[in-house]
Amino acid sequence: MVNLQPYASPSYFIIIGLCLLPIIVGLYHGKRFVAYETLFSLVFIVLTFGGDHWHQGVALIGYVLYQLLIVGGYARYRRRNNQTSVFVAAVVVAIVPLVVVKVTPAIQVGSQSLLGFLGISYLTFKAVQMVMELRDGTIKAFQPLPFLRFLLFFPTISSGPIDRYRRFEKDYRTAPERAKYLQLLNKAVFYLFLGFLYKFVLGYIFGKLLLPEVAHAALLQRAAFFHTGLSLPLLGYMYTYSMYLFFDFAGYSLFAVAISYLMGIETPMNFNRPFAAHNIKDFWNRWHMTLSFWFRDFIFMRFTFFLMKHKLVKNRVRISQCAYLVNFLIMGFWHGVTWFYIVYGLFHASAIIINDYWLRFKKRHQGLPHNRWTEGLAIFTTFNIVCFSFLIFSGFLNVLWFK
């Protein structure tokens, strides 16, 4: 049995290109071949989760049925009732498999949960989103097939970008007009090639060629600076890893967006020149955008709403600080239950809280200088703080200090 990992090899792109041809021709003539698309998506899911990865395939099927039951059940309930406790229960039950998968390696070192499969986090984001929107009443009718299509949309199944149900459905229900589709096609080709440059050239240079070298050099400096291992090569590792992380992930996201465009679905972009951010807040509007917006809309805003509405905390500054802490701590845990992911979350929460103090200070003192030098300084500072957070995120310090 063949196994194809998404966007990993030239053969994947050739196969996907050939399989997409009928869809492209159809969309060009204003027709969406739903049956063919469904079949084609299924085949690709089987190719991704089949072969040696069959156990992941089984986990995926189980997971999808489970979420279908929860979301479907909640939708049915929501038609007549709207109790908060049931809503909370539905959300909790929906994230249980993800929690199990994330916690298992932390409890039993080195073992992976049998419930896990590539992309479980991203599917969970989509399912939880459904429950929340059903609660809000912005999604009224629950239809199993469109839900499955949304959940299992294969270009984004393994690592996002995370789309929104209503937006996705709107694209899917119609075929774009020809002029519009040509624009999409044009962008798709550009994104594909940009993705090749990012992932297979720059990502390769930073990740495969440079990273092992700087890692080795940094490990040799373990005893440096009072045995903390702080050294110039470590700094080199920090920047190299940051570049690798960006180009690898942004490249991947570009592929996912490009393939979606070819299918006439405008999956949202994931990155918008993140290293040009002026501050940490700005950074999170540019980095892994679909994730940070998901967190913004479904965690941060809901949590602040809850605090304010019930007047649990009076001071609005404290409210936002609490919300940041909760938001980024959850994000840290989501990355994995290890000290460095959690510290990464806390670091970003602290950074954004300090950032907010500064923004308030700036607001009160309107006379502060503002020119391209201060802007340059802001970008430079933000970039370095972000790179430092990625050094934490990389887990390299764990190796450097404890292994």
Binding site: V2, Y28, D52, R178, A179, L182, L185, N186, V189, F193, E213, L219, L220, R222, A223
Partner: protein
Amino acid sequence: MNAHKTIWQIIGPVIVAVALVAVVFIVPQGFGNVSKQTEQKAAVSLSTNVFKGNKIKSQAIDDGYVPFIGSSELSRMDPLHPSVLATKYHRSYQPFLLGKPGTQSLVHYFALSGVMRHLKNRKVVFIVSPQWFTKQGQMPTAFDYYYSPLETIHWLTHAHDSVATRYAAQRLLTMPSASSDRIMKAAITNVAAGKAITSGQRTYLTTKEKLLVNADDLYSRLVSGRRLRHIQQAERQLPAHDSTAQLTKVANRLGAQATGNNRFGVKDSFYNLRLRGHNVQNLRQAERNFNYTQSPEYSDMELLLSQFAKYHVQVMVVIPPVNHKWAKYTGLSDKMYAQTDHKIKTQLQSQGFTHIVDLTHDGGQKYFMEDTIHLGWRGWLKMDQQVKPFLSRKQPAAHYRIQNRFFSRTWQLSQNK
């Protein structure tokens, strides 16, 4: 009309790109030889790309480089390292280093299959570490890391049925790399069963080979010059004349400078990096039950020997010791190590591989080992005293008598007394 024009503007560049890639990779290129300088860099780079490739290795051997086949010790590049000595004193041979941590006989066997014909009637130095001979033998993860599809395809398309070939194919099938390509796996399965590969498989393999050859041709040129610069710096610490007495002095001085912060005579930087603290505590008596006398590695090594015999390659085999103080501390058995050494030598000598540098009794000498199991200053020097004459002078033709019994499970498990 307008839409059609637009669509061509969109697809045009894609077609051009695909065509260009096809031209570069599928059409045989012959990008020409690599430069002497690249060759020189590659010889000491220990680059995995060079190791897995074919182009540079073959060209360097044709140009007179001598493969030094081994594993992690090759990266211990102090000034007495064979590459530094050969460069400094403009010896008639230059080593081409093949091996990194985790490369054992099986990895080498496949990685050398395409360059064997270039080695015909030439010489190699083969550093066999007793540490390879574990119960498992070649670690599958390391095999995967060093697995060369290019060289393996060459091996597959040139395989003739024999005990050795079947054994090699069966070993390959136990490695995860064998499953990375379905058609290739079927071909390997055929070979393992003593059958020929089908013509369909052959067509597929030769097509894939073309692609890989071109990729190798393009990418193997990108070799880092970092280690060559290191070698050139190390050279400066050597005396002007190639004299054993003076070199010994230098070896003693460098060894004394680099060690001293630990009771094992292990290089300080290595100790700080790998052993200091809990690590050293945890390793006390940790190797008490290590056993190198029974291992599939014996038969894996036989694969290499059979290839050397087939191409009349003159081989000098080096068997390094362990750091004696370290062995005492970890509880590694002296007796077991001697038995391993004896078994390796029996296998070599009974088949006509008589150039053996057995260093296993020298692990207690000062500055002989750079760290726990790797040769250093005086160790390199002692090895050089036999390697230099072997490589510099003409040797009488070797007469090898390969015996298939060394491929058997019985031999792998035999506790030769």
